[in-house]
Structures are given as C-alpha cells and as structure tokens.
C-alpha cells in the first residue's frame, strides 16, 4: 500500500515516474514492430463473384467440408460499413466458421454507392437487388427457397424481403437488428428523433460515410476516440495485437456512403415513425406485413450493444406470423458479436445448429448437429 500522507496526485505522478523505464523499453520494441512487415489484410477467405448488378456483387464461398445444411445461406450485410467485417482475420471470421460448419455461403457486397445512386431506396434494394440475387441462387441450386442471415440493418432488409417474398425464404436469422425504434435507450435512437435528414441529403445526395463514422465515434468518445488509442499505444510492442488492431481500423474507416433515398426512408420511416414493427411500411406500393413471416426466425442480439440496444431488437419475434421463433442475447457488444474471441465459440455454432435442426442434409452427407450446446 502506498504512502498515506501523500496527496493522490502526488502518488499518481510517482507511479508514472516509476513506469518511465518500462515505457522506454516498450517504445523501443514498438518501434521495431511498427517498422516490421505487418499482415493487415482483411477478407482473405477465397471467394468467387458469381453475380453482378450495377454496383452490387454476390460473393460465393465454396464449402470446405461436407454440406450439413441443405439450402444455401445468403448473408445480407448492412449498407453501413462493409461486409468485410465478417471475415476480418482468419481466426475470427464468421464466414470461415460458417464454412467449417458445412454451410454453403453467399454474401452480398453492396459496393460503394456514388452520387448517381442517390435515388435508390428500400424498394430498389429489397425488391430489386435482393430479389434478383435470391432468384439467381434459387436457380443455381434448383431450390425454391434459401436461408437468409441479416446483419444489423441488413436484418431489416431481410425482414422486409421475407415479408414480401415469404415463399423464397426457408429460414431467417437476424442479428443485432433494430426493429422497434420507439425506445428511448441508445444515443442513436435519441439523436435521430429530431435529425433533419433532408438537409444533409439535399447537400450531399447520399449520406456520407465519414459523417456516419463521426456519429458512431461520438456515441462513446471516451472509449472510441481516447481509450482505444491509449490501449493501442500500450500494446504497440505486441505484433499480433498491432496487426489485429490495424485490421479493425481498416474496416472501421472503410465507410461507403449510404444511398440517399434509402437512408431517408431508414431515418424517417423506421427511426422516426417506427413503421416496420407496426406493419405500416410500404415498399414499391406493397405493405410489409410481418404476419407474412411464417418461416422459422432466429433473432440474435447483444447485451452491451451501444448502437442497437437489446430493447430495440427483442420484440420482433412476437410480431411475426411464425410460431417457430427464438431470441438469443449474447454477453457482448455490437461488433464483438462477430469478432470477439468469446463469440467465435457461440455465435456461428448456434446459427449452424439452428439451421441444421430445420434444414438438415440427410442423403449425401449427414448433418453434424451439435446437441445441448450451452449459450
């Protein structure tokens, strides 16, 4: 225990002085690490682009093991940030884990919208691009329906698609997907209530990715602007840490703009008017009725999610027409659910198990169903 007679700040200074030599030693190692060849590549799992429409591409990941789920899985990422987050590094890759579970994976790459894409709305993405892609996969596999996995805002797109084209969706998995926007928790929800989206879109056409990034940083400046980099400096001597940190940094600040019309609808119709969960949303003149979602639904969300709090996710299972629904809350955050080492053992295995139970391959290659997994 430290000297009781000294003032706290005096003690703090003292401990900092004692640490001086250690810091100096670490900085030498850090210098060596930073000048070294660093492997910071992301999205390294091999894939083929099998379908393209405008800026949108469909990636196909060849299975590495016997197929355990009959229908292919289409991963629909959000239009905010890039889908590369699901394949950030080999040992923390949702895509690799899905392949290792024997699931055939397709993933939509929404690309980088330019100013000419400012008029594209939800209808164009859901009934246009998504429907084209689903039809392509159905034809390719000779199947009438496929499995969908929605990531964050991509989950909303999946819900809309499943409500409008239920016959084409076998099983639906949504993850950290905001569906009830009426809640007052979460800064994004609070701030967006009186957010003048038209003003921004009039100027920029699309919602600038940099502006979104800045907003996400503002949600927790102490951690995301300060502590994160303090942590980086403290661990600069550790090459593995530096490489992982830089991969994440590369992904975070790779932010495409969001098509203007879609972003306007997302803010006004969902965040401000909460139309989706009230069955009031219309796309291309058709009502998005959640009662049409009769296929099995798995809803996964994160307890410590500061962007999409659990309160905004949990209600959807009680609002859809399906009787086979499940809510699963993991003890992690919005990004941690996909990339944390803890989630690697829970997230994908749970999805695989859930899909295998409902869409098992029986004939050619037996399903590897895991029983009694504790989550």
């Amino acid at each position: 225990m430290m000297n009781k007679d000294k003032a706290p700040f005096e003690l703090l200074m003292e401990t900092m002085a004692r640490k001086g030599s250690e810091v100096l030693e670490r900085s030498k190692t850090a210098q060596e690490t930073l000048f070294d060849d660093l492997d910071t590549d992301i999205a390294t799992t091999p894939y083929q682009v099998v379908y393209e429409e405008d800026r949108v591409r469909l990636k196909y990941y060849k299975p590495v093991k016997n197929i355990s789920v009959k229908s292919p899985l289409l991963v629909v990422y959000a239009l905010i940030n890039r889908e590369t987050m699901l394949d950030l590094q080999p040992d923390r890759s949702v895509i690799r884990n899905l392949l290792n579970e024997g699931i055939e994976v397709y993933m939509i790459d929404w690309g980088y919208p330019s100013k000419k894409d400012r008029f594209l709305n939800h209808d164009d993405h859901v009934n246009g691009y998504m429907d084209g892609i689903v039809d392509y996969i159905r034809t390719r596999h000779g199947t009438s329906s496929i499995n969908l996995l929605g990531i964050c805002m991509g989950g909303d797109l999946c819900l809309m698609y499943a409500a409008l084209h239920p016959e084409k969706v076998k099983n639906l998995v949504i993850t950290v997907t905001p569906t009830n926007f009426e809640v007052q928790t979460g800064l994004l929800h609070v701030w967006s209530k009186d957010f003048n989206v038209d003003r921004i879109l009039k100027n920029h056409g699309n919602m600038p990715g940099d502006m979104l990034n800045l907003t996400f940083l503002l949600v927790n400046p102490a951690r995301l602007i300060l502590d994160k980099y303090v942590n980086f400096i403290s661990n600069c001597h550790d090459k593995i840490f530096v490489e992982n940190f830089l991969r994440m940094e590369k992904w975070i600040f790779d932010s495409p703009d969001v098509p203007g019309a879609l972003f306007r609808e997302f803010i006004t119709l969902l965040y401000q008017e909460n139309q989706l969960i009230q069955n009031k949303l219309e796309l291309g003149g058709r009502l998005v009725d959640l009662n049409n979602i009769t296929m099995p639904l798995l809803n996964i969300y994160a307890r410590y999610d500061h962007l999409v709090p659990p309160e905004t996710c949990v209600d959807i299972t009680s609002r859809v027409g399906s009787k086979d629904t499940e809510n699963l809350c993991l003890d992690t955050g919005h990004i941690g659910i996909y990339v944390s080492s803890k989630s690697q053992k829970l997230f994908v295995p749970k999805i695989a198990q859930w899909l295998q139970q409902r869409d098992r391959v029986c004939e050619r290659s037996p399903a590897r169903v895991r029983q009694g997994m504790a989550v």
Binding site: M1, M2, K4, P8, F9, L11, L12, T15, M16, K19, K115, K116, R118, F119, L120, D124, G128, L187, V190, W191, D194, F195, N196, R199, I200, K202, N203, H204, G205, L218, V219, N220, P221, A222, R223, L226, D227, V230, S234
Partner: protein, 332 residues
C-alpha cells in the same frame, strides 16, 4: 522620417485600461445580475475609451506619416513645383480624412447613438459588443473556477447563457448587416458573399458551442476522479499502478460523457452544429456552382436530373424485363 509617434506612448494607458476591464470581468462571476449589468456598462465605457484611444492613435500616426511623406515629396520636388500641382488631388489629405471618418463612429459613439434614437447601428454595435463581453466574461469565469463548479452544473449553465447571448447577438446584429440590399451589376454575387459570411458566422458560433459542451464532461470527470481518489485514499485503497489510475479516470469520463450526451441540451447543440455545417456547405457549393457556369461543364443540377431520369428508366426496364421473363416461363 519625422513622423510624430507620440500617440504610441499612450500604450501604457491602454494596457491599464484593459487590465482594469479584465479585473472587472473576472470579478463578475460573483456579482449579482444588477452588478453585472453595471459592470457591463463600465466595461463598455472602458472598451469605448480604449477603442477611441486606439483609433485616435492610429489615425494620428497615419495622418502624421502622410503629412511627413507629403512634406518630403514637396521638398524634393520643390524646383518642379508649379501652380498646377497645387491645385491637383492631395492624397495625404484624402487619406487623413478617410482615417478620421473611420475613427468617427468610435470617437463620437455616444453622441451618434443619442442623435439617431431607437436601435441605430451604434446600438446594434453596442449590443453585439455586450454579447462578446458576456462571452469573454464567461470564459474567464470558467478558467478561474475550473473544476470548482462543474460538479453542480453551474459552469454549463452560465456558459449556455453566455453562448446563447452571443449567438442571439450575432444573429441580430451581423445578420442585419448581411441583409443590407446589394446594388448594381454585382448584386447577385454580393448577396451570395453575404450569405456565405453569415453561414460562416453561424457555423463558427455553433462549432464553438459544440466543442465547449464536449469539453464539460472532461472537466467534470477530473472533479469526480479527484473525489474518488480522496475516497480511496481514506480507505487506504489507492491503486499502485498508473494504469489503474487511468482506468479509474477513463471510466469516470465515459459516464460523464454518457450523461452529457443524453441531455436535451446536447441534442439541441448537436443538431444546431449539424444544421450550421450543412448551411455553410450549401452556400459554399452554391458559390462553386456559380463559378462553374463560366466553364463549359454541366452543373450539378443538370447531372442530378440526368441521373434521376436514368434511374427511372432503368427501374422501368428491369420491371419490364422481369415481366417478360415471367410471361416466357408461363408460355414454356
């Protein structure tokens, strides 16, 4: 050069005057509202006095400079001097009168204000200056009482009032000047420049307020951190490592930020900053587009119209293609 530089000697007087006004301002933090109003008046007087002195000094310096230059020119060209040159335009006298004219509003501020009655330009100037003074006072107050009042939100409250006053004054005073009708062939350009300047003012004020609001959690976090350290010390639980001190502080900072950012005040300021930023961006873009009209390139509006037409055509085409494919499938 034989320029009369005696006015510079008055610099000491100006400094004293400034120090006097600064002392008044720093005392204001503990004054009542009436005392503050009276102190603002005193400061106004001090500022006006100072401005008068500065302008008089500057005018006299420049005037004497011009007189001296003029004398030299006259001496050098004495031989060539003729009756014609005497009747020519006297630049030094012209410049002197310009400087005197510029100094006039400051020197005669009180009289002009009294003469012109309700809400004259001088009144507006005075009001704007008052707003600036209140703001300056608030900053001084903040710095002198750093950390002492942050805990109970007093600093935030007073800052908000001062910033509000400044913003109000900026809008009331500067925007009036921005709205002065422009004349002549460059009217359009003049109006655009005025709106550009107005938008810049808005952004400047909003951005400063936003930064100040973001600084408050930092301030309060240090206060709370200090309190926590005292508690830990009393219980003999002070951490040994610097990292633990840092973790303690950063956790406190995070909580303070959360509390601040959930407040309606933060929302208001955030949205106003965003609005001001977008307003400035729009005006800037408009000016840029105006410049482009002189070049053989399409304007943004024309490109947007083309893109929209292209989007509609593409959508119709895709829809028709789907229908044709469905019909073909049926017929097969």
């Amino acid at each position: 050069m034989s320029a009369d530089i005696s006015p510079i000697l008055n610099q000491n007087t100006i400094e004293e005057s400034y120090i006097r006004s600064s002392q008044k301002m720093s005392r204001m933090g503990i004054m009542s509202k009436e005392e503050q109003t009276s102190a603002i008046d005193s400061m106004m007087t001090a500022w006006v006095e100072m401005s008068k002195e500065v302008m008089t000094m500057s005018t006299e310096t420049w005037a004497s400079l011009f007189r001296s230059t003029d004398q030299k020119t006259h001496t050098a060209n004495a031989a060539e001097e003729s009756e014609g040159s005497k009747s020519s335009f006297d630049i030094s006298k012209f410049m002197e009168s310009v400087f005197l004219a510029l100094a006039h509003p400051f020197v005669e501020l009180e009289n002009v204000s009294a003469d012109m009655g309700n809400r004259t330009g001088c009144d507006m100037f005075r009001s704007g200056l008052e707003g600036m003074l209140r703001l300056q006072d608030d900053w001084m107050h903040l710095w002198t009482r750093w950390g002492k009042e942050a805990g109970n939100g007093k600093t935030a409250e007073s800052s908000q009032t001062a910033f509000g006053a400044w913003l109000e004054d900026t809008e009331n005073i500067l925007n009036r000047f921005m709205k002065i009708p422009q004349l002549g062939p460059t009217r359009n350009f003049g109006e655009k420049l005025s709106s550009y300047w107005g938008a810049y003012q808005h952004l400047y004020v909003a951005w400063n307020e936003f930064l100040r609001l973001n600084g408050l959690p930092l301030e309060t976090s240090f206060v709370r951190f200090q309190e926590k350290l005292e508690d830990l010390k009393e219980n003999e639980q002070l951490p040994e490592e610097a990292e633990d001190f840092y973790t303690l502080w950063v956790n406190t900072l995070e909580k303070e930020f959360m509390q601040c950012m959930e407040s309606p005040e933060y929302r208001r300021v955030l949205h106003r900053t965003l609005e001001a930023g977008e307003e400035f961006y729009a005006v800037q873009q408009e000016l840029g587009q105006d410049m482009l009209t002189y070049l053989p390139v399409a304007s943004q509006q024309e490109v947007d119209e083309l893109a929209e037409e292209n989007y509609q055509l593409k959508k119709t085409l895709k829809m028709l293609a789907k229908k044709v494919a469905a019909l073909e499938a049926q017929s097969v």
